[in-house]
Symmetry: C2
Subunit: 140 residues, 2 copies
DNA sequence: ATACTTATTGATAATGATTTTCATTACCGA
DNA sequence: TCGGTAATGAAAATCATTATCAATAAGTAT
């Protein structure tokens, strides 16, 4: 997963590759923590000074549509984005620095089966997110 | 868990019991789906006509602080509230009608242990939510 | 290369949600 | 019943997001 791949994806889906998009893509793709639109704006403007906040919103919208980024839900709100995991992955977030790690291998089969039986619901998706303290923040 | 209990909780924490709070509490406590502040406002005004939207925000803030309600995260946003589960409970939401059911009994011990080892994180909380279709919506 | 079509842009304005301010009201303990 | 003060609603202020629009530039056809 590189910024170039993201740009290719945009292009292949009929979107043009522009300086503004390049800047946003490079910022978001490189980040290891979830960023709000304004954070993306501030950081991307170091690469492309003329960038407008509106373009950030529009670009994030397209990246989300192409499943290149995903929304991250946190206690304080859910308006932050990070690159999407590949396949079935979940997030582990550091409560202190915001660092995000992906993981997979959750087995909720038996849980969802039993809940489905108990509630009569047909269970389709699940959201799982872990919160903790990363090694770095723990020692400092 | 009754509206009266919530009011008692408010009172015991030094907050006054007023007509406005009564209306908000009765609305939220009784709901089986997550409600946005504006929805709470509209519904509560049937009980207490003079209610202001600002008071709804302020009351929800206090109820959340006392852990009587919790924020519900959904794909479209996370500005909706529902009564808090008791103890360690998670949510199952109907994608169609919004109906919420609580469940418990998730065992993520082994998962978090292995993720902790792999990542070096000290895992503190987890956040699990299931989405599906309730029995009622499924048949209609 | 050059011209042309049209998606994309940034600025501005509009909208929507939430918070702050403040004078008035009404809880509730004494 | 009274009085101090928390709580209220209305209005204004703030903040985030979306819509509008004329100017620009990406990328295709020439």
């Amino acid at each position: 997963m590189s910024a170039e791949f993201w740009l290719t994806q945009l292009h292949e889906n009929g979107y043009r590759i522009t300086g503004a998009r390049r800047a946003v893509v490079e910022t978001v793709e490189k980040s290891t923590r979830a960023l709000t639109p304004v954070e993306v704006y501030d950081m991307s403007r170091k690469r492309y000074r003329a960038l407008g906040l509106v373009t950030v919103y529009r670009t994030l919208e397209k990246l989300e549509e192409l499943h290149l980024i995903q929304r991250v839900h946190q206690p304080m709100g859910c308006q932050a984005f990070i690159s999407a995991g590949q396949g079935h992955q979940h997030l582990l977030l550091c409560k202190n620095c915001g660092q995000v790690v992906f993981f997979e291998g959750d087995d909720l089969e038996s849980l969802t089966k039993s809940i489905a039986k108990k509630t009569g619901y047909q269970i389709q998706d699940h959201w799982l997110q872990l919160f903790g303290m990363c090694a770095n923040c723990r020692t400092n």
